[in-house]
Amino acid sequence: MRRAATYLGVLVVAAYCLAPLAWQLVTSVRTPAELTTLPPLLPTRITIEHYAAVFTGHPFPRMLLNSFVVAGGATAIALAFGAAAAFALTKMRARGFGAILALVLATSMFPPISIVSPLYLLINALGLRDTLAALILTYAGFTLPLAIWVLTSFLRELPDELYSAARVDGCTPRQALVRVILPLAAPGLVATGLLVFIFAWNEFLFALTFTATERSRTVPVGIALFPGLHEVPWGEIAAASLLVTVPVFVLVLRFQRRIVEGLTAGAVKG
């Protein structure tokens, strides 16, 4: 009985998450003539011309690469710096715990569009226009608050004895962090990492403002370049948005195991 309820629930979750994407899939293989006719729900003829158009009409592989580099870089920085900061706050008894967390959070309370202009001035002054580094830096800055807060929460649950024991064994704080603490905080690290990665993967406003050419163009800006003044190629946009989701799906699939693996590294709570 309980199993049946579980599987029913899983079905609901799957439908909830996949239905719009399934609709995108259907749209991406519709012929142009059928794009806006509704009965029929499923197209009578299937075409892959939209997928072909995505690659022939745009430097799509380059944009995917850029997005990967930007998202990967931002994730690495957010996790590394965020974990270090969370560690200092929870285990090393850095002073000003509450104040620092509040300050960090406060930086994320301003609407992004109000800071895009000053940030542009700064990026320009640093000579980082039209570079991937500008986006990596920006996204790391925006996601550090989340990383710090989540990792602080996870690290706080770990018993302090773990750290003191490691110090007694002769580890420096950094060694203790890397060898003892972080492995136990794996679920938090992976979860945060995935969220940061995906945030950076999808960000549009700053990507549009700081990039000018294919050199640094990321996927969301690329897709915004599909429509013309009046023409909106729905089929192409649907195809591109699915293509863009696949790498992320694969990434998540690969890493979500880590969320579970953290358990086997030892008892955490209780």
Binding site: G73, Y120, A186, A224, P227, G228, L229, H230
Partner: protein, 424 residues
């Protein structure tokens, strides 16, 4: 896990190194001392990129020593505008020539972002009056008209004929025909247009207001609130309220409304000229059944279309103003405009090209379009137009959705716009 973390940190180091190399390796080749590069920032041109690229190469061939690099922006007008505001305000010198929406010229001129290009325009008679008006600010010209657009009425010739109507000249004729035919034809709406809260709504509403004898500004004076305007707005509100138009117009922009008409589900459509080619495509269900006419008007007044389109301007801080000027002159020349029109369907800004045999053969509706362009009106040419538009969009949307009575919306709009125009 420890290995994973150490691997990750090694990976991070590698990433940074790669970035550094990638960043360097991809820098554009340093400019040779005898070569100047100008950057042309424009919206995405939909279609085969080859004709456009060929045009740029032709310019480079005619002007040895100048290289042109074209950079695309998303076509959405708001996104382009936002990009320019951030960059130009930040003193960017990264681009030299930019494509401007007709409604931005006075704004950018006032802000000091675009250069005076009075010497680059062709003779005034060569351009459409409204087009010239849109690029003029305080007696000088700040952009060169490149493409133009005007609102048109599309109608189903076959349906009108079938039910005994002719192409409507007045708005009441249109409403009558729309209502009657929609009632008799199942699944067909009457009149579709763009009623979402955005710039397009201002175009639609102003076309009605102008054709009733109303106007927004008279010089610096706000003359919006008038019996003529009220008449137009009351008609606007009645369209959805009385079923002449389907409710979906309140969220429709150009493409959704074009789709409705293009799949045979409407009798009348107000839209820009671009739709014509799409309706005449081989796989279009209404191929051969579409007529084009100037927009209707109210009794005793004349038809009016809103002017749309794009102009070319020069960045006031460009490092190569002379080269940029040469480029602008080239791109707005008759040959270049003809090429672009044939390849991408954009309508040229030079009046003479509307009698060009090659263009007419490809786009027979150009004659009707020229008449509409001659009668086109420019939206208020003032640096504060964007602000005005925000007010008009809100109030017109309230009228269209029935949230406000036209008289009330009009009074509110008048007051707000007076306040805006009174700012120093």
């Amino acid at each position: 896990m420890r290995n994973a973390i150490e691997a990750l940190s090694r990976g991070l180091a590698v990433l940074v190194a790669v970035l550094g190399v990638a960043g360097c390796g991809d820098a554009p080749p340093a400019e040779r001392s005898d070569e100047r590069t100008i950057v042309f920032k424009h919206f995405r041109l939909f279609g085969d990129p080859a004709p456009f690229a060929a045009l740029l190469r032709e310019f480079e061939a005619r002007h040895p020593g100048i290289r042109v690099r074209a950079e695309t922006l998303p076509a959405a007008s708001d996104e382009q505008h936002q990009f320019y505001v951030i960059n130009l305000r930040g003193g960017s010198r990264d681009f030299d020539v930019l494509a401007l929406d007709v409604i931005w010229v006075a704004e950018f001129a006032r802000a000091g972002w675009i250069a005076d290009v009075t010497g680059l325009l062709p003779d005034n008679e060569a351009l459409f009056a409204a087009s010239l008006e849109a690029v003029t600010y305080e007696g000088r010209h700040y952009a060169v008209p490149w493409f133009v657009d005007a609102g048109l009425l599309y109608y189903r010739k076959d349906l009108l004929e079938l039910h005994g109507f002719s192409a409507p000249r007045t708005w009441s004729e249109l409403a009558e025909a729309a209502r009657t035919i929609a009632a008799r034809e199942p699944g067909v709406h009457g009149f579709v247009w763009q009623g979402r809260q955005y710039e397009g709504l201002v175009c639609n509403a102003l076309e009605m207001i102008w054709s009733a004898g109303g106007e927004v500004l008279d010089g610096e004076r706000v003359v919006l609130e008038s019996p003529e305007t009220l008449r137009a707005l009351e008609f606007l509100q009645s369209l959805v309220a009385q079923g002449v138009s389907p409710a979906i117009v309140t969220t429709a922009t150009e493409e959704p409304s074009r789709h409705v008409f293009g799949s045979g589900r409407a009798v009348f459509l107000r839209n820009w000229p671009y739709a014509w080619t799409l309706f005449e495509r081989p796989d279009s269900p209404i191929r051969g059944k579409v007529g084009v006419a100037p927009l209707p008007h109210f009794e005793g007044h004349e038809s009016a279309s809103a002017l749309g389109g794009w102009n070319l301007g020069i960045n006031a801080r460009s490092r190569h103003p002379d080269e940029a000027a040469a480029f602008v002159r080239f791109m707005t020349s008759p040959d270049a405009q003809r090429t672009l029109s044939l390849a991408y369907g954009y309508n040229p800004s030079l009046r003479a090209l509307y009698a060009d045999p090659e263009l007419l053969a490809a786009q027979p509706h150009l004659t009707a379009l020229r008449d509409a362009l001659d009668a086109a009106r420019s939206r208020p040419v003032t640096p504060r137009y964007a602000q005005l538009s925000q007010v008009l969009q809100s109030e017109f949307s309230a009228v269209v959705t029935g949230l406000k009575r036209p008289a009330g919306a009009l009074a509110d709009a008048q007051r707000e716009i007076e306040r805006i125009m009174a700012e120093p």
